[in-house]
């Protein structure tokens, strides 16, 4: 039993590394496209910095969080956005195409998890770099200006929370995309999702209490960008930390079940 699990883990890790390698190679083929992508991400970075600028220009402390603290939130959001659009969006965006061109049919017949191959096959290297670098710089700048330590404790906390937030992002943003199997026009749904993601442009403390509650415990959108900053600023309560660990589990299980249902309905409804 353990051996089988180990073999499966090995198989899927190997496959994923191949996916990443192949995508980077393919991306490097289109030099102009690659640099253009970097340019676009930089303009998004600029827009996020402009949000930060608003806080700094106003000089206002919200609930005791200074503009420097805000920088940590915006930085985390930038890093997580980078991860979302590099690892997951290139795949979620292609799902409609897979259905339309019949590629999904071919993938169904392969002895590999359909969810794995559909949601993780593509990876965008160019969009990752500016966002991760920019985000890390923002977080570090904020923490330094606040005279807080950046030691092993903080760095490992960061790594753990990034992993948890990545899982939450995967689950949350895949959810509406499961409609692909029924609805042809996914563009507006994805647009709505990216608008929702914009809500993390500002720290969640600006929102009302019940909205914050919903955003952490019911639909963990805020959990993605806010829990780590709150933790490192020593403002996170235990409930939030528990949610940070539990929501990925709940979401991933829900996705697994819903995915099965969606594919079932696809196989029964089409020709």
């Amino acid at each position: 039993m353990v051996k089988r699990v180990a073999r499966t883990v090995r198989k899927y890790s190997k496959l994923y590394l191949l996916f990443v390698k192949n995508c980077i190679l393919a991306e490097m083929e289109y030099r102009a496209n690659f640099w253009m992508g970097i340019g676009v991400e930089c303009s998004w970075l600029i827009s996020k910095l402009l949000y930060a600028l608003v806080f700094f220009q106003s000089g206002i402390d919200i609930y005791g969080f200074s503009p420097d603290a805000m920088l940590v939130f915006i930085g985390m959001h930038t890093v997580m956005t980078g991860i979302l659009i590099s690892f997951f969006w290139p795949n979620f965006g292609r799902m409609t195409e897979y259905v339309r061109t019949g590629t999904l049919d071919v993938l169904i017949t392969k002895p590999v998890s359909l969810q794995f191959i559909v949601t993780l096959r593509h990876f965008s290297f160019g969009t990752l770099i500016p966002n991760v670098i920019g985000g890390l710089v923002m977080i570090a700048t904020g923490l330094i200006r606040l005279r807080l330590d950046i030691g092993w404790r903080e760095i490992s906390a960061f790594a753990i929370f990034v992993a948890l937030s990545t899982a939450i992002s995967y689950g949350l943003f895949l959810l509406p995309n499961l409609l692909t199997f029924k609805v042809v026009e996914m563009g507006p749904i994805n647009m709505m999702m990216s608008q929702m993601q914009e809500m993390n442009n500002v720290p969640m403390i600006v929102y009302s209490k019940w909205l914050q509650f919903a955003g952490i415990y019911l639909f963990p959108l805020f959990a993605i960008s806010n829990i780590f900053p709150l933790f490192v600023l020593q403002q996170a309560d235990p409930g939030m930390l528990a949610a940070a660990f539990l929501s990925p589990v709940v979401l991933l299980l829900a996705i697994r079940w819903l995915w099965g249902r969606a594919i079932q309905s696809y196989a029964s409804a089409s020709s």
Binding site: V40, C42, S43, S47, I60, I62, M191, M192, V206
Partner: protein, 269 residues
Amino acid sequence: MNILGKYGYAFLLGFKRTMEYRLSFFLSILSCLFPMVIQYYLWTSMYAHSTDLMIFGYSYRQMILYVLLASLLTLVVSAGFEWEIASDIKEGGLNAVLVRPLHYFLYRISSFLGGKLLQVLLSLAVIAALLMVYPSIAGQMWQLRDIAWFAAALLNGVVMNMLIFYCLSMLAFWISEVWGVFAGFGVVSSLFSGGVFPIEVFGVVVNRLLDYLPFKYIVYFPVNVLTFRVTGTAVLEGIAIQLGWMALLALLAQVIWRIGTKKYVSIGG
């Protein structure tokens, strides 16, 4: 074809397409909501923790009114046809249009406007509703004359934005990765046109720069006309500047089109 004429027909087709993708339509309306929500909460908490009653020269109610109106007007002035024009240029669809007795831009715009009609009507309806809720902010009631000035400023803003994106779309003649230009430009332009924050938030230096660019006249100026932050001769000045930009951009568009199609035809389409 009937009384509509060919451009009227393109308009109608654009409208019909909205009907087909009904989910698409409902959701595009809904997606306007999020920026409004974000801005509302942002400024509410800013003002709640501010020692001053005025931030960046706006009172709380003025700020909220600004961000809500700006959000709606951004939807009204938004383009989107640049993708189709770019793909026409890159994939040779332009050939079909160049040989027909059709003015390309007018055709694309008619189709585009047809698709936007419902969206624009709804946005304007919401604006009207908003204003009925906030009548006291401006300190005065709206006369027909005020609405007329606003309409003019708004219309100019729409045309300006369309011309800018039309010019951008023609970059497809030279740049194959023009999608990046649209995306990157769109992000920055929506901020600098005052579509998210009133441009005062960016500080003195940036504001000085924006005085020489067309952006602030697309959303920022029309909103401020409506909320009476700009009055009297300043309104006329602003509209004149808008007209000036429109003329300049139209000329630029003509020039780019001429150079671009020449290159396009010489390559063989």
